[in-house]
Symmetry: none
Subunit: 188 residues, 4 copies
């Protein structure tokens, strides 16, 4: 990836953490990245194009990290590891998580299509891990894996943000453990 693109991604993420996507101007992004405004349009065509590319890039990174735990032998441990990874990612890229939660469920939002596809990707990883837990007979009867996966994804996102925004005094370990406790409720 070109230096300009990388710098613009980083600048966008940094500013989005502070102000959200709505209050983000191309002027500011370019200034923060240390490039001219035109560079945004040369590389991404539009502000939307930049955000779209950023979403794909960021969610790609997340997917990669989440997949890294797929080969854990114990399915429940793997699921816990997945949760831990998700939390760590949200903490590291808070701006990104805020973008996701702001835009993901906006009906015809400008990036709805992109987000739908990316969500499918992530949810699918969670689903696979949950399925392994289910196959091991460690999910309560009646739980539908696809629904549970979608729910778990959203919950993780929201819990991570709630922690950062409203309970910043809590340690990451505390939050991770409380989510894991909830998950543990699932296991017989």
């Amino acid at each position: 990836m070109s230096t300009s693109k990388q710098r613009l991604f980083e600048a966008t993420l940094k500013l989005a953490s502070d102000r959200g996507l709505a209050g983000l101007t191309v002027d500011d992004i370019a200034a923060e990245a240390g490039v001219a405004k035109g560079t945004v349009y040369y590389n991404f065509g539009s502000k939307d194009g930049l955000i779209d590319a950023l979403l794909r890039y960021g969610l790609g990174q997340l997917a990669e990290r989440l997949r890294a735990h797929a080969d854990e032998p114990d399915p429940v441990t793997g699921l816990e590891s997945l949760v831990d990874t998700g939390l760590a990612f949200a903490a590291e890229y808070r701006g990104f998580a805020q973008i996701l939660v702001s835009e993901m469920w906006r009906t015809p939002g400008q990036w709805h299509e992109t987000l739908g596809l990316l969500r499918e990707q992530i949810v699918s990883i969670v689903k696979d891990q949950l399925q392994r837990v289910a196959d091991a007979g460690r999910l309560p009867e009646g739980v539908q894996v696809p629904t549970a996966a979608a729910g778990l994804f959203g919950t993780l996102l929201v819990v991570a943000l709630d922690w950062q925004v409203f309970q910043p005094h809590r340690s990451r370990a505390e939050v991770r453990d409380s989510v894991l406790l909830l998950l543990r409720g699932l296991a017989r």
Copy 2:
């Protein structure tokens, strides 16, 4: 409440469902409500004033409905009832749920203060209900009630929206049951 205010609330909610708060103009809101633009400023002082009042109004309604189940004798049944009510509210006022999820965790968001107060109110209701479950010894050991309450609030919001936006074919009953199943995992 005056007719104009009521009409403006309804118009805002309707439009927010389609476009989110960011893409909402005072012109559009006034047109949808069938009043002149000046009326918004006469009644609420500013666009932010309108949104702020709308948030207080909507969350007040939600709090009222949630509290209605506080006197259920069995705490677990009460918790389930609370979830059911939350889902129903989100389905009925989708635009409102979208506003919440879009704005709630935006750090210096324009309505951050208002939302923080309102969130506290709702989370507190959930917390009370969860505490009753804990007091009855039906929560897994180690679960911290305040954390769990915040998490449950966010999860409910997110699951409801995910249902409406990405899985509209599913019936409300299905979604409710799957959330309840997860909750049931908590109970021994």
Copy 3:
């Protein structure tokens, strides 16, 4: 017509005479008219909208003036009078004539549709006058009235502009007479 609209028409015409339509900025038009930039958008929706309205307004004025000579008893005199009126109009509203000649034959130009309709209107007036000349047996045999009308309209426009731009030293009377001489060639 509102004051703002009128002022914007006049300002646009004035500036278009100096710089043509291409080099015209909304900032400059608004400043010249003594209104805020937003007023352009409030009244006309866009820069194109302003130009479009201006074309309709200006061509309407021209049509009105041209029709004023329709009741001249002698058809050839009427035609000469029409030419004279056209020249006077072009001299008075040079900017308008420049807009017309710049945009009229631009294939998918932004105002192509509007211009086509308006051209039809003017050409039709010329056509009626020419038809009266033809009915009086004073057109050379074989001349097709519709074609001749379209040609006369364009010629008038171009001769008027050529006079103003490249031969400003010539008096209006001279130019009028030379065009009339050409026309007189038509008459037996």
Copy 4:
């Protein structure tokens, strides 16, 4: 002429037919020509330089064609032949004719100086031909040759474009004949 220059001329002409000069970007021209944007600046120094060179090139071609009929023995036949050639040129290079008519009478237009010189060249050829007709005593008395020449040039341009844009169904022969009929009116 280098290949790049030729390709850029052709590309500019092609695009100008569709969009006029104003809506023409260096990006588009270079893309259409199949060269890099920098090549325009390497060869012509600026966009204006390219247009300027194109105008000289195109009008040179036209002048060459028009002069080819100067040795026709009968002056009226020569004039008719000149008209025919002009129409044919406009039909072949419509984009060029559109550029001319759009820019020729724009007062301080960017290429005003160049266009003035070139116009003089063409008008001079027409003037010579008309003078021969006048010398043969076949112009109505009182017609001033310089004025008539300027008028004929503009008329030809405008009639040709009107035909292409608003009356494309008419055959070229028809248009030629109707212009010639008008001219014939000039002859005793």
